[in-house]
């Protein structure tokens, strides 16, 4: 086995790659959070529950409608996004003018309800979802066996993340979004249908979590608390990246996955805490986060 200064390089590369895979989920989820935060200045605490919902939707689509993985990858985000649209329209908009803390609490409530409902209906021991046939098997890399599906996770999430980033940072639509956040009334006066834009963007941010949920279903067991466990980590990632920074969310998401992978290799006991430790350090040095602008 290849070693370097006493380090098992194969083991290390393997952990880095696994870290990158986890980072792909972090990136997708923190991207959705960052978009919603950037647009509405609210923390969507339900993002984790919606990720869970996405996974369950994929499972249910297969069980009850015979909708397979590939179709689910399109259909589920649409359905979940529609749910986000309804949520924005009927729950969040009524309190849009209140302190943003209220929307945090509201979405917290939504998360509890969703998680509770699914626990009630499906129990919390977890359901299985098969890896699609086209992605079964894997490749023997020099340092590890890489299942095809895991490779697909990296590719698909990178495509989605970069595409989203480009849309928000580099297009006129993105400029409308950013400006609409700051002063919606004025944007309306300029002739932009801000409420519609807000609703659709919220739906999009939520749909990203739904997408991540579908991606996760074949590899993580589909269970009601799959969202709440990952959510807090994703919050820390968003804080590290700089709240509302789209690029920051993506890069930090992937980066933290890798950091976690490294920790699992060198000091596994700390792998749960390392992201929070990084967060503390970043806050001390750069309070607005790595890519955030000082408020």
């Amino acid at each position: 086995m290849a070693t370097f200064m006493g380090i098992n390089l194969f083991g290390l590369f393997g952990q880095l790659l696994v870290g990158l895979i986890n980072g792909s989920f972090y990136a997708l989820l923190s991207l959705g959070l960052a978009i919603i935060f950037g647009l509405l200045k609210i923390i969507n605490f339900a993002q984790g529950a919606i990720y869970m919902l996405g996974a369950f939707a994929a499972y249910l689509a297969l069980q009850y409608f015979g909708i397979g993985y590939w179709a689910a990858l399109i259909v589920v985000p649409l359905v979940v996004g529609l749910l986000g649209v309804l949520m924005e329209r009927f729950l969040i908009r009524p309190i849009a003018n209140e302190d943003h803390l209220y929307s945090l609490l509201l979405t917290f409530g939504v998360a509890l309800v969703l998680q509770g409902m699914f626990t009630h209906m499906f129990g919390s021991s977890g359901l299985s979802y098969a890896i699609p046939d086209a992605l079964k098997g894997g490749n023997k890399l020099p340092f590890m066996y890489l299942p095809n599906y895991r490779a697909w996770i990296i590719v698909a999430s990178l495509i989605v993340c970069v595409g989203t980033w480009w849309m928000i940072e580099k297009t006129k639509l993105g400029a409308y979004l950013r400006a609409g956040t700051e002063n919606p009334a004025l944007m309306q006066a300029f002739g932009i249908n801000v409420p519609l834009m807000v609703t659709l963007t919220f739906g999009f941010g939520v749909a990203l979590a739904g997408f991540a949920g579908v991606m996760a279903a074949p590899v993580y067991s589909v269970s009601p608390d799959m969202g709440s466990n990952i959510l807090i980590v994703v919050f820390a990632i968003v804080v590290i990246g700089g709240m509302g920074s789209i690029g920051g969310a993506i890069i930090t998401g992937l980066g933290m996955g890798i950091v976690e992978g490294l920790t699992k290799y060198f000091y596994p006991e700390a792998s749960n805490t390392v992201i929070f430790l990084v967060m503390v350090i970043v806050l001390l040095i750069k309070p607005a986060g790595l890519f955030g602008k000082e408020a």
Partner: protein, 237 residues
């Protein structure tokens, strides 16, 4: 009402509310094409509220507001701009998440014949120099320039301008007076809220005086002389 020009804005019995508080109590006024009309009054008289009510930026409004022949009182806010309206708010509304140039390019064009970016940069060299700076990093006066420039670009031909000389150096204020005269000559319709009466007096065709959410006086440019006393009592000049 003596104007013979086509009416661009006609307001009848406009009431406006912020939540529970009733701010405008039945405003009647009109502005004709190519006219420059000011709203005068003390702090809190309701002048800014009148402009915001026209743009549907208040809590609730009743009455009638006809713009270019279209009744807008029940129109969604985002459709009003497309009637050719340009609004420059008193708090300027520069977006901090956009740089100067993005701010400038932001409002969608509502008509095709707006002032070109080159002309704007010529008019306000400060903006050209700071074009890649974050919008809200501009000095107070520069932000004021940007807010005005931004709507000139859209080609709006009915301008609602709120305290645009606020915080500007005298030399710029003079320049603005010239700009407004030019716009008027191009046929633009301007409704101006001003504290700076010395700025407004020479360029305006008419003045409305507001107090406590009512229009209490209408003064034509040629009557200024005669009504100075009256204006003094209203405005405390």
């Amino acid at each position: 009402m003596s104007t013979t020009r086509p009416e661009k804005i006609r307001i009848n019995d406009l009431h406006a509310f912020y939540g529970e508080s009733h701010i405008l109590h039945g405003i009647d006024m009109s502005v004709g094409q190519g006219e420059l009309v000011t709203l005068l009054g003390r702090n809190g008289a309701g002048r800014s509220t009148t402009l915001k009510a026209i743009m549907s930026m208040v809590g609730r409004r009743t009455g009638s507001i006809v713009i270019n022949g279209t009744e807008t009182i029940n129109m969604p806010a985002h459709k009003i701009a497309h009637l050719g309206m340009g609004f420059c708010p008193e708090e300027r509304g520069i977006f901090s998440s956009l740089n100067v140039e993005e701010n400038l390019m932001l409002p969608p064009a509502v008509r095709s014949d707006g002032v070109s970016v080159e002309e704007i940069y010529e008019m306000f060299p400060n903006l050209a120099e700071r074009r890649y700076s974050q919008g809200t990093r501009l000095s107070g006066g520069e932000q004021q320039m940007l807010a005005l420039a931004r709507i000139l670009r859209t080609g709006a031909n009915i301008l609602l301008l709120d305290e645009i000389t606020e915080g500007l150096a005298p030399v710029i204020v003079q320049k603005l007076a010239e700009v407004l005269m030019q716009l008027k000559e191009r046929g633009l319709t301007i409704l101006l809220v001003e504290q700076n009466f010395r700025f407004a007096a020479p360029i305006a065709d008419r003045h409305y005086v507001m107090e406590h959410g009512h229009i209490v006086e209408e003064v034509h440019a040629h009557e200024l002389e005669a009504k100075t006393e009256l204006l003094n009592t209203y405005l405390g000049v």
